[in-house]
């Protein structure tokens, strides 16, 4: 479960990235976080990954209090989350197999178990034949699937995807989103940051909408878009 309660984030240069944002994401939910550039989407991701610390408010993820978490505990906490980035963030010097296996190794899984789980997950994302290739030897869409495999291999309870389709073709984007949907059906909570309305619309999931660091809507996709049309958009800001 993810809990944001009255969270604000102000950077050292005085820029306010988030202003009093509150929401909860329950276990097993699939949520989109949308908004224009500078709306605060990436800051939410950074706060969930504990790359940044909120200026005020409370953040709780998987039972970890991210405001009070010790530096030493952060790596353990991150192992409970699978992260997918827009730029894939694969280690170029490692093969696809090793990139995925690395996420298991850091958790202390060893030998045969690594092999079993990595091969299973690569098969799941359709990349088993390319296990020995290096990231630069496969397409963008395939690299994103490697990133997805790496995020999944630890059986995380939450998967965070930051613009996962931002660097790949529209056709491949659908594939990645469908894969995320399939994964969600198996249990993990999924939070996807995206600005691609078509994809968001297509999946018909809950959407959190941000604007200038404030949350202006949090609703199911259908209601939200209908609401926009009917002028009934659910506003959750101070008004």
């Amino acid at each position: 479960m993810i809990l944001f309660s009255n969270v604000s984030k102000e950077y050292a240069n005085g820029a306010v990235a988030l202003d009093n944002v509150s929401f909860t994401v329950d276990t097993g939910e699939f949520v989109f976080v949308v908004g224009h550039s500078g709306a605060g989407k990436s800051t939410i991701m950074k706060l969930i990954m504990r790359e940044e610390k909120a200026t005020s408010g409370q953040i709780e993820v998987n039972g970890y209090d991210l405001q009070g978490i010790r530096r030493r505990q952060i790596s353990r906490y991150r192992r409970s989350i699978g992260m997918v980035f827009q730029d894939f963030r694969l280690i170029n010097q490692m093969t696809i197999y090793d990139n995925v296996a690395f996420a298991l190794r850091v958790t202390g899984v060893v030998g045969r178990e690594i092999r079993k789980r990595v091969l299973y997950i690569l098969d799941l994302v359709g990349l088993l034949p390319k296990a020995r290739c290096f990231p630069h030897q496969v397409s963008g869409g395939e690299q994103q699937r490697v990133a997805l495999a790496r995020a999944l291999v630890n059986n995380p309870s939450i998967i965070i995807a930051d613009e996962p389709t931002g660097n790949i073709d529209p056709e491949l984007s659908n594939g990645v989103m469908e894969l995320l949907d399939e994964i969600n059906k198996c249990g993990p909570t999924i939070v996807v940051v995206s600005h691609e309305h078509n994809l968001v619309k297509k999946l018909n999931k809950r959407v959190i909408n941000l604007e200038n660091g404030r949350m202006i809507a949090d609703t199911g996709l259908g209601d939200w878009f209908k609401g926009e049309e009917d002028g009934k958009r659910q506003r959750l800001d101070e008004e």
Binding site: S75, R78, Q93, R105, V106, V110
Partner: protein
Amino acid sequence: MKLSNLGYLLRQGVKNVWLNRLLSAASIGVLTVCFLLIGTAVLFSRNLGSFVHGIEKKNELVVFLEDNTSKHVAEQLKKIKNIASFTFVSKEAALKLQLETLYEGGDLFDELNRDNPLPDCYRVTLHDVDIIKKTVDKINKIHGIVHVNSPNDVAQIITTIKNTVNYAGIVIVAFLLFVSLFIVATTIKMTIYDRRREINIMKFVGANNIFIRVPFLVEGLILGIISAFLAYGMLYLGYSYMFDVLAKFKVAVLPMIKENMVPFQEISAYLLSGFLYLGSIIGTFGSVFFVRKHLKV
């Protein structure tokens, strides 16, 4: 950390040296040059010391005479107790010896035979080198003595040179060490800056700091060790080559230098262990120190 993970991390460190071979080569190059400079300074200083010691060890004096005083001087020399033996070297014999050492064959120096500038001399060996100064004073008082060549005079000059070189050497080696550390640190910093993205990714998949540091540590250690062996090998070859070159020349002072040259085997263990120690320290600490900056994600 589990033992099997340790094996993986060690392997990863070894692998990274090859994967980042360009920067690895740069680090090895810089470290090797630093070691070479330090090693050369050490070898130079040790040889000067050995040379001085060699001269001091020689208990032989050369007593130069005025013309036609050899008999009188011989009688007086016999009276000095510290003198063990002495042999006469005529000016003709001395010139012949000099010419043999300086020039092989030909008649370039024939003119000298007609007007020999060298004096007659006695080569004097002593019982006790410790009282050499006293003995030289006594000899100097004998009538007909032009000059007494004592190894002490030469030793003193070389000792002064040696001390100056040693002090200068300490300053130069300290400076070189500082510069080396700076260059090596910059190279390692560049290597790690180049791989900050990799470190960042590792942090995001939940790797703890030890897990990230160990391969860098191993990598630094390997680079340090390779550099140490390379510098050692190069010094060995260079030094051996110098030995051979010196053997080929027939200049008076060179046999003496060669005779007193410190054999490489004598200091090889110190050099190698010193290089390995320095290399390991610079390599590992450099890596660990500069990785730290990128771990705060």
